[in-house]
């Protein structure tokens, strides 16, 4: 089932000193439950693409359909995770997790129960009354993910979501987040500048060209297993091949 469908997206930015075309003729679709990594040269418009899908930016041309509905504003089908965990320091973990539901006026007992289950399932039981400053970086990122999952989005957008973490935490969080997302059967689009991260998590990798970005290639990633562990993938022979290929492609842009 196609859950996301992007048609001929074009985005132009207007500034005082001119016009910049960020995205040009982007066409792709994503199946339910898929994990798509998006890589491209820095500044090519990867994050702009996510913003369009999330409804933060209206494209100048083309359209995005999520779950069969055209995106016209902030879509409730979509959960967005940014670079920092953006937990509110003055709220407890529990209050942080409920923020999205609060904003969307969906604080029903069922939804609260769901949020509680998520915390329990992913190793945060007993931390509800703690404050973000009392948690490790990895745990904070997990709380941020649960906050996003609590509103039950169909598609998750990760915008360099792990790049603020130190390397070791980052690897741990990658495994955590990947298993949570697969467990919850969520569709995910992840923008990253880390090629290894893109390969180890993605079912497919979308390679964008330089600005104005268009899709250069979509690469299928297959490690011959349905249940992969991202960090474990990094040591397989296939991984290096994917890495070299993408590295060469990116370098070709200079």
């Amino acid at each position: 089932m196609k859950i996301l469908n992007a048609q001929n997206i074009e985005v132009k930015y207007q500034a005082e000193n001119g016009e910049i075309t960020a995205l040009h003729n982007i066409v792709f679709s994503v199946e339910k439950g898929e994990f798509v990594s998006i890589v491209g040269p820095s500044g090519c418009g990867k994050s702009t693409l996510l913003s369009v899908i999330a409804g933060l930016i209206t494209p100048n041309k083309g359209s995005v359909e999520v779950c069969g509905e055209k995106v016209t504003g902030i879509s409730q089908h979509i959960g967005y995770m940014l670079q920092n965990d953006n937990l509110l320091e003055w709220r407890t973990i529990w209050q942080n997790v409920l923020l999205g539901l609060e904003i969307q006026n969906k604080l029903t007992p069922q939804n609260k129960e769901r949020a509680k289950k998520l915390l329990e399932n992913y190793g945060l039981a007993g931390f509800e009354q703690k404050y973000p400053s009392q948690l490790s970086g990895g745990m904070r990122q997990r709380v941020a993910l649960i906050r996003t999952l609590a509103v039950d989005p169909d598609i998750l957008l990760l915008d360099e979501a792990f790049s603020a973490l130190d390397f070791q935490t980052r690897l741990e969080v990658t495994d955590d987040v990947y298993s949570i997302l697969k467990n919850e059967n969520k569709t995910t689009l992840m923008v990253t500048h880390d090629i290894s991260e893109a390969i180890s998590m993605g079912d497919r990798i979308m390679l964008l060209s330089q600005r104005p970005a268009s899709i250069k290639e979509i690469i299928n990633v297959d490690f011959g297993t349905d249940k992969r562990i991202p960090t474990a993938c990094r040591t397989t022979a296939g991984f290096t091949e994917y890495f070299d290929y993408i590295w060469k492609e990116l370098k070709a842009y200079g």
Binding site: A54, L56, I74, Q76, I78, G79, Y80, L82, Q83, N84, N86, L88, E89, W90, T92, L99, G100, E102, I103, Q104, Y131, S133, V151
Partner: protein, 269 residues
């Protein structure tokens, strides 16, 4: 920390810390006492003219004298006027800051006026204020308000604006309306800014009140100071200034106390 687990090194460290703290308190009190004693001595020996510069014992005597003559009334008037100007300035200033934060257009239009109003000495408006508000308490409160308002607006606005854009974007992706962004992100993120501006404001509105009382008043510490000066009783002036300093300190501490209570409510860490 468990007392039984304190190591010898830690005990030494703690002791050193405590000794330093005690020394600081001791020096503070000692300095004040030394100053009072020197002042008294200088006046008694005749190094300074106690008629002009007064003298601690005379100030104490005056304090008791004035205390019989409605001192509590003067204190109450000044404190009331200050708190009224302070509260008005804080509330109106916050409201104005919210409006300016809300609308970029309004804030761009208002910017030059704010800059001018901020650098204008509001005391210059004294005569205008007296004519508008009448020669009385109202004019004095107005003066306190005029002095504290613009600073509050500028301070709060810059606080609101410096709220992490990432936090705001996070709320926006959940579909937050502007009102929710303010309520759930921008305002709580700026509780500290609010109290910092309140701490400045309590002093500023006191300046406004005293200036106002210099111009028009029948009571208050500012009135006492002017009166003392006019009848050349420096003891009254000095005594009033000392009470004023004490009142200012108490009100400042009051704001800090309020901050602690609110922070406990928000459970800031």
């Amino acid at each position: 920390m468990d007392k039984s687990t304190v190591s010898a090194e830690r005990a030494v460290y703690l002791k050193k810390q405590q000794r330093e703290k005690r020394l600081i308190t001791l020096c503070r009190i000692g300095f004040l006492l030394l100053f009072i004693v020197l002042w008294e001595l200088a006046a008694a020996v005749g190094w300074i003219d106690s008629f002009i510069l007064s003298q601690p014992t005379r100030i104490v005597k005056t304090l008791f004298n004035v205390a019989d003559n409605d001192l509590h009334l003067h204190i109450a008037v000044t404190v009331f006027e200050t708190l009224a100007g302070f509260a008005l300035g804080a509330v109106l200033g916050c409201i104005a800051a919210v409006v300016l934060w809300w609308s970029d257009f309004v804030s761009k239009v208002c910017e030059p006026y704010l800059v001018v109003l901020n650098s204008l000495p509001k005391i210059a408006l004294g005569p205008v204020i007296i004519i508008i508000a009448g020669a009385g308490t109202k004019a004095i409160i107005f003066m306190a308000l005029a002095i504290s308002l613009v600073v509050t607006v500028m301070e709060m606005l810059s606080g609101f604006r410096s709220t992490s854009p990432e936090l705001i974007k996070m709320a926006v992706t959940f579909g937050a309306q502007k009102r929710q962004i303010f309520q759930k992100i921008v305002f709580p993120a700026n509780i500290n800014t609010l109290f910092n501006s309140l701490k400045i404001n309590i002093g500023l509105s006191l300046v406004g009140v005293i200036a106002g009382e210099f111009l028009v008043s029948k009571a208050g510490l500012g009135y006492l100071i002017v009166y003392g000066g006019q009848v050349f009783k420096m003891d009254i002036v000095m005594a009033s200034v000392i009470i004023l300093a004490a009142a200012a300190a108490v009100m400042y501490e009051g704001v800090i106390l309020l901050q602690r209570l609110v922070m406990r409510f928000y459970r800031y860490r």
